[in-house]
Amino acid sequence: MSHFEPWSAERAAAIIAEFNGVDGATMPILHEIQHVFGYVPEAVIPMIAKALNQSRAEVYGTVTFYHEFRRELPGRHVLKLCQAEACQSNGSDHLRDCAEKRLGVKLGETTADRRVTIEPIYCLGLCANGPAAQFDDRMVGRLTEEKLEALMAEAQS
């Protein structure tokens, strides 16, 4: 369950200041920003650039390079379904189809009621216990249609 703070420039400035003097601080700052606000707001980019003496383009480049950094708020719950080979060998394609059908959205999209975002993920390191998924902070192994159904019901309740 996500409990994100609303955007606040003061809060963002305080986060950036925490990493004063840290080598290669861009990634740790972006992670912390996303952890607090749920995404990396556009407005934070010039703030980070200024603090780290970089161009806005450099920081923008970093934000957009990594799959993990979001540019907008996700749904209330995020369900990540592993799509890598080991999970494919155990039927992850079928589970993805089930989730897409049940929620009416494709991987990478959020339901219209903004309750749940489903995303692909390439490997959670649970390859001997697949198919694997991550539901918010919870890791789920040996995923079945029944377990997936329960997760989606939980997400929509």
Binding site: M27, A84, Q88, C123, N129, V140
Partner: protein, 519 residues
């Protein structure tokens, strides 16, 4: 007397309900008035049995698994807290299990036995003997010990670790770094994760030894955001080691300084490539760097840097404590020591198998893995993650060894083996290899960035039956271009799964006779 019960804290166990099982055991014991101490250990690596609960008895630890919360009351009824064997989940003495008995655990010697946050337990089982030895040997002889061991990079490239260390040791600079590549993104691999979650001190000790050996005073573990439990375990262990004087100024009372931290990636597979990793560590886009200069000379923040895989570095403490020769006595040819192999995918007995180089691929799949979980015939394995070749059953006599694999157009990679049954569509897997490369390409090299997308489109045409031979020839040409025209392994090795799939499974690509479905 208090009954000691072990419930793993490894995420593979957690994902299958280990926390709920631990709670159920605690609750049930309270209800029965039994004095129980629950220890949260790492995983032994018999992952099909997770959550695997162990009970300490006079005769050794007795295992039960896979345990679900609903089993707990019956387990107590059947006397599992005394190690009794009545219940159907009873496995027997853990150490006597053939899956473990047949292994040669050096790097994973402690994993699953101890509470990963107990420095005391780590030391009791030989921990920090390697550092002690390194301190007495001094930097030069420590590097030579690693050289003698024959250890080669376990991340996939197989470059001799000793040579890398010599280069960094010889470099002159005001600052040097130890960077650990823990960006374990290959599907079918989890050994780095298991060691970080199950025995984090071994990695810390290895890095400290490396720092002493090459004259580096600071280290980074660069790992994946997909591994939150490993990050937490590492951070906890670092704090404990620092408090005990094993990190910081004058480690373990010596004249050497070393400290370290964990850095988190952000879902970019290419950051497992060492130069891309360094860019990311510095806060930039993970674009691959051209080599030379080698990271050993111009690495993190422009300084000489040892960059090693988790498995390589976690093997260093035992190489120092037992001697390089001891380690080199395992293995075959130029592949010395042991390899933590990870059995994954559609396997009955998936898990971690650390074994000396030189066993056959087939023995790993059958003797350890037990064949498919689905019960259907085996058709292919992919060895070494998304950049690894697909190998048909007739090649499974190949010995698990760097050179033997290279000879059949494959690589051992990071030791992940993923098994597929006969329902696998190899055209789909080849297409996926291209798709994955397109999603994860850093964009620097055109053959990788654009070639992978065009490759995916071409496979769509082949799947639709459009000019199959012409398009397959195009794929072959494209693979050649990607292999020769990409700076790093992502573009350079995506042809491995693609070409091996076409070569070994032509029937899935409209070549040769179609496989007849079993009646």
């Amino acid at each position: 007397m208090t009954i000691k019960i072990y419930v793993p804290i490894d995420v593979a166990a957690l994902a299958c309900g280990a926390d709920e099982v631990a709670l159920a055991i605690q609750t049930e014991a309270l209800k029965r008035g039994l004095p129980v101490e629950i220890v949260r250990n790492g995983s032994r690596g018999m992952l099909w049995l997770e959550p695997m609960v162990e009970v300490e008895t006079a005769g050794g630890r007795v295992a039960y698994g896979p345990v679900e919360p609903k089993d707990v009351a019956a387990l107590f009824d059947d006397g599992f807290h005394e190690g009794k064997g009545k219940h159907s989940l009873h496995i027997g003495l853990t150490e006597e299990h053939p899956y473990l008995k047949k292994q040669q655990r050096l790097t994973f010697a402690r994993c699953g036995i101890t509470d990963p946050r107990s420095l005391e337990a780590y030391k009791l089982l030989g921990g920090y003997k390697g550092l002690e030895k390194a301190i007495s040997l001094g930097p030069k002889d420590t590097v030579e010990e690693v050289f003698t061991s024959g250890l080669r990079g376990r991340g996939g490239a197989g470059f001799p670790t000793g040579i890398k260390w010599r280069t960094v040791a010889a470099a002159q600079a005001d600052r040097k770094y130890i960077v650990i590549n823990a960006d374990e993104g290959d599907s079918g691999t989890f050994s780095d994760r298991m060691i970080m979650e199950g025995d984090p001190f071994v990695l810390i000790e290895g890095m400290t030894i490396a720092g002493l050996a090459v004259g580096a005073t600071y280290g980074y573990v660069y790992t994946r955001s997909e591994y939150p439990h490993a990050i937490k375990a590492m951070n906890d262990a670092i704090a404990i080691a620092r408090k005990a004087g094993l990190l910081g100024k004058g480690v373990a009372g010596s004249k050497y300084d070393f400290d370290m931290e964990v850095r988190m990636g952000a879902g970019a597979y290419v950051c497992g490539e060492e130069t891309s990793l360094l860019e990311s560590l510095e806060g930039k886009r993970g674009l691959v760097r051209a080599k030379p200069p080698l990271p050993a000379l111009v690495g993190a923040f422009g300084k000489p840097t040892v960059i090693n895989n988790v498995m390589s570095m976690a093997s260093v403490p035992i190489i120092l404590s037992e001697g390089g020769k001891y380690y080199a006595d395992f293995g075959m040819g130029r592949s010395r020591g042991t390899m933590p192999v990870q059995l994954a995918g559609n396997l009955k007995y998936g898990g971690l198998v650390e074994i000396a180089f030189g066993c056959t691929l087939g023995s790993l799949v059958y003797d350890f893995g037990g064949g498919t979980a689905s019960g259907r015939p085996e058709r292919a394995v992919q060895v070494g993650g998304p950049l690894g070749a697909y190998l048909p059953t007739h090649l499974w006599e190949t010995l698990f060894d760097y050179e033997a694999f290279a000879a059949i157009g494959a690589g051992v990679g990071h030791g992940g083996i993923v098994l597929f049954d006969d329902t696998v569509d190899m055209l789909k897997m080849a297409r996926f290899a291209m798709h994955f490369c397109a999603v994860e390409s850093c964009g620097k090299c055109t053959p990788c960035r654009i070639g992978s997308t065009r490759g995916g489109e071409t496979f769509d045409k082949i799947a639709a039956g459009v000019e199959v031979e012409k398009n397959l020839a195009l794929i072959e040409e494209l693979c050649e271009t990607m292999r020769l025209g990409s700076l790093c392994a992502l573009g350079g090795m995506t042809p491995f799964p693609v070409e091996s799939a076409i070569q070994h499974f032509p029937e899935d690509f409209g070549r040769g006779p179609k496989l007849q479905a079993a009646e």
